[in-house]
């Protein structure tokens, strides 16, 4: 079982493909990357996630060679790559704007990198055809970039950056220009292509759903720092900070001082009628101000007070109907609004709660995560 799980980051014997060691990048006074240390492993699909200006694009440009770190070192397969120009790196990049050469055909765009390496004609032809096939563009080789659709252009950009079989492929917001439906299809395509080629992908995105879908690990960044690096499940279920919990998906935060209430269990007084209890592996001091992060889908909503530890009464303020789900905004007596999500297993006409209803919301002691920051 352990062998089949892809988790080289947990294996101390695996050498990383890329490692950042205390890398800092400054533009004048502005610190784009702040003392960053990170390992990325071979065959990983690594996502850099964060709001705009968080340094994720700078990180990518450092990897591609368009920028050089102000201090610290970057290793690719153990060799320091600082100062090596982009054309000498076994790293290729797929640009956000795709940056297809408008004067060259699709075929020539894909062949561009191979031609620069002086690849023999037969090998080059075979490789370009292979790339066209991989990205399902066989019919469009002779067209110019302006004669194909946005989705096709995206695939040309991908084929072009993969043609040289780089050790590392960088994707800068690769799906940003596509509409939602196409984006979702393309996410799975990207994953398939990544598995088929065995290339290490580093993707930059601000779309958390995209990062969660495609990535083997996600790094959440803010202000030039990595806040957390973990698998999508861990990022979602066990965020290490309120920032990460809030950035990925929806979350309710209850804040207040804690008291120990048994083994690994704390009771938190968030200002409601009675304190709530939560389990935590992490230890907190008596009276420390702590945040409890609970996902809306882990909160139940009931008409009668249920048995169990954390039950709070509140009033339905708003209902967001999403079709498959409904999110209820429940206002607690202290004014705080808690989001509770239920699956709509019944037709909407038989909905149990409506606006202004008094309801009980509840969650188990293990549903949330206690965070100190």
């Amino acid at each position: 079982m352990v062998d089949t799980v892809f988790a080289p980051w947990d294996d101390p014997n695996v050498a990383p493909l890329i490692s950042f060691k205390n890398v800092t990048k400054r533009f004048g006074d502005f610190v784009a990357i702040d003392d960053l240390t990170l390992d990325i492993f071979e065959r990983e699909f690594f996502a850099l996630l964060g709001p705009s200006g968080c340094g994720k694009t700078t990180m990518m440009r450092l990897l591609a060679g368009f920028e050089n770190p102000t201090s610290g070192s970057m290793l690719l397969s153990g060799h320091d790559i600082a100062g090596i120009p982009p054309n000498k790196r076994a790293v290729n990049m797929m640009f956000q704007s795709y940056a297809l050469f408008p004067h060259l055909s699709v075929w020539e765009n894909i062949a561009f990198g191979l031609r620069r390496d002086g690849v023999v004609k037969d090998v080059l032809n075979a490789r370009v055809e292979e790339m066209l096939k991989l990205t399902r563009l066989e019919k469009f080789g002779r067209r110019k970039p302006h004669q194909i659709s946005g989705g096709q252009r995206q695939r040309v950009a991908l084929a072009r950056s993969l043609a040289k079989a780089p050790k590392l492929l960088l994707l800068d917001e690769p799906l940003g220009a596509l509409d939602k439906k196409l984006r979702q299809d393309t996410q799975f395509e990207l994953m398939d292509i990544q598995e088929q080629t065995g290339t290490t992908f580093v993707i930059v995105t601000h779309d958390q759903e995209e990062a969660m879908t495609v990535a083997s690990r996600v790094a959440v960044m803010d202000e030039g720092r990595i806040i957390q690096v973990a698998t999508p499940e861990k990022i979602y279920e066990a965020p290490n900070s309120v920032y990460v919990a809030d950035f990925i998906g929806d979350v309710n935060i209850l804040t207040g001082p804690v008291k120990a209430a048994g083994v690994d269990t704390y009771s938190l007084d968030f200002g409601g009628t009675e304190p709530v209890t939560a389990n935590s592996d992490r230890a907190f001091a008596e009276g420390e101000t702590v945040h409890l992060a609970i996902r809306p889908e882990k909160i139940g909503i009931h008409a009668e007070r249920p048995d169990g530890p954390n039950t709070v009464q509140g009033k339905v303020l708003d209902i967001a109907y999403l079709g498959n789900l409904s999110t209820y905004h429940v206002q607690l007596p202290n004014g705080q609004i808690i989001k509770a999500q239920t699956t709509n297993t019944r037709r909407i006409s038989r909905r149990a709660f409506t606006w202004e209803d008094l309801v009980w919301i509840s969650w188990s002691a293990t549903a949330g995560v206690l965070l100190d920051q």
């Binding site: 790293v91 640009f95 704007s97 940056a99 297809l100 050469f101 004669q147 072009r160 950056s161």
Partner: protein, 308 residues
């Protein structure tokens, strides 16, 4: 139902057609009035004979319409082939225009490139500096070059002062002076279209080329140059065409030794008052210019069709 809406719809269509017709007809009328009619007049004069009269050619409308057309002939064009002055002047003009276009491109491209790469807030100022000389009379600017290039001029005195020369250089009244004058005068026409093309160029294309294995220089040759081709071609035409018929610059800076068709044309018209021969010279000049333009446009069209 059809009967009810049919009539107003038909009227609407008709108005629409009329509007489209007017819209298309206006520019055609403009071309006809300002280009084709004057050309026909010049061509007619080229087929006439010189005469001591006002206007100085015959036949004219006074001789009657049929007589006027019957007396037209091609002897002026035949004359142009007999005297080697003319074809030498055409060839020399072509050579001067070609060399100055190449020189203008060589100087203009780096300037346009630097402008397009300059910080955004500087670009308007740089553009202004390129256009500013147009606000002074062209004639005065060319005269100013006499002051700079003559043996007692600023350039010679400067070179003397820094010790680069011991004898003054003879630049004025040579073809070098003509090239300097033409490059100086027409360089904005080269810079502006190239700048427009380079400014549109997406910087990430160059980065993509580098990422795929190009050096800076290679990326410039493979990406920047082909993508600014439109601007280069436009700039070359904008310089080549007026340079070919240039009259003021060779007369003022080139002295008597420089043979150019613009000067020949001027002398035929004003010194010899031989309007028919001058018109024939002008018609041939026009043909020399029109043929490459048509060829170029055909080529463009074919390329677009091939892409489409």
């Amino acid at each position: 139902m059809f009967g009810l809406v049919g009539a107003p719809q038909l009227a609407f269509c008709w108005i629409n057609d009329l509007r489209r017709f007017v819209l298309i007809a206006l520019p055609y009328f403009w071309l006809l009035a300002l280009f084709l009619v004057p050309f026909v007049i010049v061509f007619k004069i080229a087929l006439s004979d010189a005469a001591l009269a006002i206007p100085p050619y015959m036949p004219t409308m006074k001789d009657g319409l049929s007589a006027m057309f019957l007396q037209l002939d091609f002897e002026n064009f035949v004359f142009l082939t007999e005297d080697d002055l003319y074809w030498k002047a055409y060839l020399s003009s072509l050579r001067v225009a070609f060399i100055s276009t190449v020189l203008t491109l060589l100087f203009g491209y780096p300037i346009a490139y630097a402008m397009a790469r300059a910080p955004h807030e500087w670009r308007a100022t740089l553009m202004m500096l390129i256009i500013l000389p147009f606000w002074t009379s062209f004639l005065i600017r060319v005269y100013a070059w006499i002051g700079i290039l003559s043996t007692e001029g600023l350039l010679n005195r400067f070179l003397f002062w820094i010790g680069a020369i011991s004898e003054p250089l003879t630049i004025l009244n040579t073809s070098t002076a003509v090239y300097i004058g033409i490059v100086y005068t027409y360089i904005p026409f080269m810079i502006l279209p190239i700048y427009a093309a380079l400014e549109r160029l997406d910087a990430s294309l160059i980065e993509a080329a580098e990422d795929l294995g190009c050096s800076r220089m290679k990326a410039f040759w493979l990406i920047t140059i082909p993508l600014s081709k439109g601007g280069i071609v436009a700039g070359c035409f904008l310089v080549f065409i007026p340079a070919l018929g240039e009259f003021v610059i060779p007369s003022l800076l080139g002295g008597s030794g420089t043979l150019m068709i613009g000067k020949v044309l001027f002398e035929e018209f004003f010194s010899n008052r031989d309007w028919p021969v001058a018109s024939a010279v002008a018609v041939i000049l026009l043909l020399i210019l029109i043929v490459p333009i048509i060829l170029f446009q055909r080529n463009e069209q074919r390329q677009q069709d091939a892409e489409g």
